[in-house]
Amino acid sequence: MIGSAAATAGLLVAPLLGEEARKNAAATQQADPNAIPVALDVNGKVHQLELDPRTTLLDALREHLDITGPKKGCDQGACGACTVLIDGRRVLSCLNLAAMNSGKKIVTVEGLAGDGRLQAIQAAFIRNDGFQCGYCTSGQICSAVALIREGRAHSDAEIREWMSGNVCRCGCYLGIVEAVKEASNATV
């Protein structure tokens, strides 16, 4: 038993000691025998990675490259928070393995504002308060970018339908529709 049952002033939990700790350290210093090389082109920069083949594109971005704009809302393809653009198309990065995307052009929300200037859609999200907590926002904006480019933002009804793959639990849908409409008008 490590520590004591009594609530004393002292710290109750000690690190694992001795043999077990050494084993643990050794275990994690070994290179992963299953790892494969993956080259990811994200926002114009190519990254060479050694990844577990099971690594999703979303986890590769968030956990290996520290590109945390794409969010993990469900990890099951049901919420849209992880939406990124791959070769210009909107894709759920949680349903994509990183290894499938070697060599493709991946753009995340971080890659939208070239030299610090916001894209029209980003500014429109701020102006129309198209978010509250901001957790779904990266995905909403990536979807909106593609949707406008595809010409699917002609009416409120069309925007609502095509933006429905991006859940916003804060309920910012009215601001989102306004933002997409505004940016769409600015682009056309």
């Binding site: 710290l11 939990v13 025998p33 945390t68 809302g73 929300v109 509250q132 904006i141 309920g171 910012c172």
Partner: protein, 721 residues
């Protein structure tokens, strides 16, 4: 003085949120960090006979498997404040812990209390290795009979929250009333489902803990960690800058936080915990199912003579939560004879917790549905019935309201909606193949406030930084507090920086109960007011003469780098007024005659919530509440399998929340309300009232459209067939 409707400033953190620059808890990737994956119990009641960890430990990258078999004993948890789950009523929350399950310290024994209990954790070098390791842990159990059905144990309900309220003789008055309604209403289990999963990154340095936590209550987390791990509070540093939605689910310290911190300590490296969407349905709270009887007695003119509101809701033995659905009963209508009580039935289900407008939201579904039924029984307009029973003073204690503008909400909402054109006859209004229904309901939520502190520092260049612990889950705290500071100091808002989300800053309460603006705002206002006076004093001038340029001028003249002031704001001991926000919803639904899917075509909602600090962020908060209300009315229900003792639709595909296509036109009216008594800044709080009353307004509209009264939520297609 400040205008009742604050300017619609863009969010100060907007740029960060649209560029991916806002860092949420799990996005702090630390050097040498490991990942933890939870193992959940698969039985509702019993004991763990064995845990076979051999395969997991052999699996690539696994560093440790921790369970009650090898975990050290932790200190006793400081529990939730006495009024568990009802923020606002308690002592300073920063002096209290907030461990959600005081009777179940993680890994303290082999007992299983519900399906989904965190019974072991696997720590590994990557997410994938941790997840694989968790799959390989084999657990066997000795099952004991489980309590899974609220109906079966209804006789054992306990009034845990001491909710019983009586006034006059409700039963006698009800018996002799000439017009009566006596019905049972039900609301299901619901889950908050914030988009951001509950997550932490924990790092130890000697006996100091740094914890990035997706929390809406950092000071209580600090206290909880201090007690559980036996270290001084000063050694615990909690950071929570951006929270991806919470709605109540991140107000308590849930087991994964304790387990993650424990794991980090044991493996001696930083640990990240990011719960899966499925896991979020078990150990992180839910709105528990309720069954409510509402009995209303009235005279032929519609005057309420008796109101009885009773029933039950689910909780368990390891938490202290009680869903207080009779709280609004005592505040909403003038009735001389009343009885209200909400007993709790303890079952082998995960711990419930407060979810956006706890109590008010399910409670008002029952009350406002019953009021609509009463209106039909009286052949009276539902709005007129509410006016006849308007409470001019607080029905609970007879105290005067600090302010109340419900009648204006009714009038402006009805006018904008066109309520006077309503044909009351069910099934009388049509549009093509659609049946059209119009319904309305009242909304209310108390104006809470808790102690909070803030510090304001002005530099010689005239810029100001406000320091206060609080949180930002999307309510716009950072924005409205910057505005409030700027206005109080008389400087442009661009010169204000707002620092928050950190336990090294002045303490603030839980951000819940719609009380952040009132509580933290009172502290920010106090600190800025004191700062302005101090600067005036330095130069020996009247504070009234201080303007935007004075700070720079005076500090330079006196060779000062900076000047600061701190303010500890406390609500008064004795509140001479009742403080409550009110509102009204008007809804139009369209329902296809053959395939009765309910669509909310348009809504007009009017609210009076005291002073509004920012018209833009306030509107968004109202929208958010209303849209969750649409979810509650039509979509949201966590199914519970009474045979297996588990929630079943535990993902975003089967637990349905409103999407963009579910929302059409929503019109918000903010009725201006000046209130000098509620608190120094005149705000009542608006985070929750938006959801209250939406579900009954929709249910009432559905009745008007179809002639079918649905008394159990959600109103799904099969209930209208």
């Amino acid at each position: 003085m400040m205008p009742p409707l604050g300017p619609p400033l863009d969010r100060v953190d907007g740029r960060k949120k649209v560029t991916g620059g806002a860092k949420f808890a799990a996005e702090h990737n630390l050097e040498n960090m490991a990942y933890a994956a939870m193992v959940m119990s698969t039985i509702p009641s019993g004991t763990i006979r064995s845990i076979d960890t051999a395969a997991a430990k052999r699996s690539t990258g696994v560093i440790a498997v921790i369970s009650h078999l090898n975990a050290p004993r932790l200190g006793p948890a400081p529990g939730q404040p006495p009024a568990a789950g009802q923020p606002g009523a308690a002592a300073p929350p920063q002096q209290q812990g907030n461990f959600a399950e005081p009777q179940l310290i993680p890994f303290s024994d082999n007992k299983v209390h519900y399906v989904g209990q965190r019974i072991a954790v696997v720590v590994a070098d990557t997410i994938e290795h941790a997840a694989r390791g968790a799959e390989l842990v084999k657990v066997t159990y000795d099952e004991t009979p489980a309590r899974l059905d609220m109906q079966q144990f209804r006789e054992q309900g306990v009034d845990r929250a001491k909710s019983l309220f009586t006034k006059g003789d409700a039963d006698a008055a009800f018996a002799s009333a000439s017009v009566k309604i006596d019905q049972i209403y039900r609301t299901p289990h619901e889950h908050h489902n914030p988009m951001e999963a509950h997550s932490i990154v924990a790092a130890w340095d000697g006996d100091h803990l740094t914890l990035y936590d997706s929390s809406q209550n950092i000071f209580a987390v600090q206290q909880t960690m201090s007690r559980l791990f036996g270290i001084p509070k000063e050694n615990v540093h909690i950071l929570s800058q951006f929270v991806g939605g919470a709605f109540g689910s991140k107000g308590s310290t849930w087991p994964h936080v304790v387990i993650g911190v424990l794991a980090a300590r044991m493996v001696n490296r930083p640990v990240k915990v990011f719960l899966t969407r499925k896991q979020l349905f078990f150990g992180n709270g839910h709105r528990p199912e309720t069954q409510q009887r509402v009995a209303l007695g009235a005279n032929p003119e519609g005057k309420l003579l008796a109101m009885i509101h009773e029933g039950m809701s689910q909780s368990n033995d390891v938490c202290t939560y009680a869903e207080r659905f009779v709280r609004p009963t005592k505040a909403i209508y003038a009735v001389d004879n009343m009885r209200a009580i909400n007993p709790i039935v303890s079952l082998n289900l995960p711990s419930p917790t407060y979810m956006r407008a706890p109590g008010e939201s399910p409670g008002m579904f029952a009350i406002e549905s019953a009021m609509d039924e009463l209106a039909y029984a009286l052949k009276m307009d539902p709005l007129q019935l509410r006016l006849v029973n308007h409470a001019d003073v607080n029905p609970e204690d007879g105290k005067p309201w600090s302010s109340k503008s419900l009648k204006e909400c009714y009038a402006q909402g009805a006018d904008k909606f066109g309520w006077s054109k309503r044909n009351p006859e069910p099934r009388s209004m049509k549009s093509g193949r659609d049946l059209i229904g119009w319904g309305m309901a009242s909304a209310t939520y108390p104006a809470h406030r808790s102690p909070a502190s803030a510090r304001a520092v002005v530099k010689s260049d005239g810029t100001v930084t406000i320091y206060t612990g609080t949180h930002e889950m999307g309510m716009g705290t950072a924005t409205v507090m910057s505005q409030l500071a700027a206005e109080t100091l008389g400087i442009p808002v661009e010169r204000v920086r707002f620092e928050y989300g950190d336990t090294t800053l002045p303490p603030t309460p839980i951000s819940a109960g719609s009380m952040t603006a009132a509580s933290v705002g009172s502290a920010v206002f106090g600190a800025c007011d004191a700062l302005k006076k101090r600067v005036a004093e330095i130069d020996g001038v009247d504070p009234a003469t201080i303007n935007a340029e004075s700070y720079h001028t005076i500090l330079s003249k006196h060779y000062l780098d900076d000047v600061e002031a701190r303010f500890d704001a406390k609500p008064p001991q004795q509140e001479p007024h009742a403080t409550q926000a009110f509102g009204a919803h008007f809804v139009e639904v369209a329902i296809d005659q053959d395939i009765p899917v309910v669509r909310v075509q348009r809504m007009v909602s009017a609210f009076a919530g005291g002073r509004i600090l920012n018209a833009k962020t306030a509107r968004s908060q109202y929208f958010g509440g209303i849209i969750q209300g649409i979810g509650m009315a039509l979509l949201e229900e966590t199914h519970f399998d009474k045979r297996l003792g588990t929630f079943t639709n535990v993902n975003f595909a089967e637990y349905m929340v409103p999407t963009n296509a579910d929302v059409r036109s929503i019109d918000i009216i903010m009725v201006p309300e000046e209130d000098h008594d509620v608190n120094p800044i005149g705000v009542k709080g608006i985070g929750e009232i938006g959801i209250v009353g939406v579900a009954p307004a929709i249910a009432n509209a559905v009745f008007h459209a179809t002639g079918k009264r649905v008394r159990d939520l959600p109103i799904t297609i099969e209930k209208l067939m």
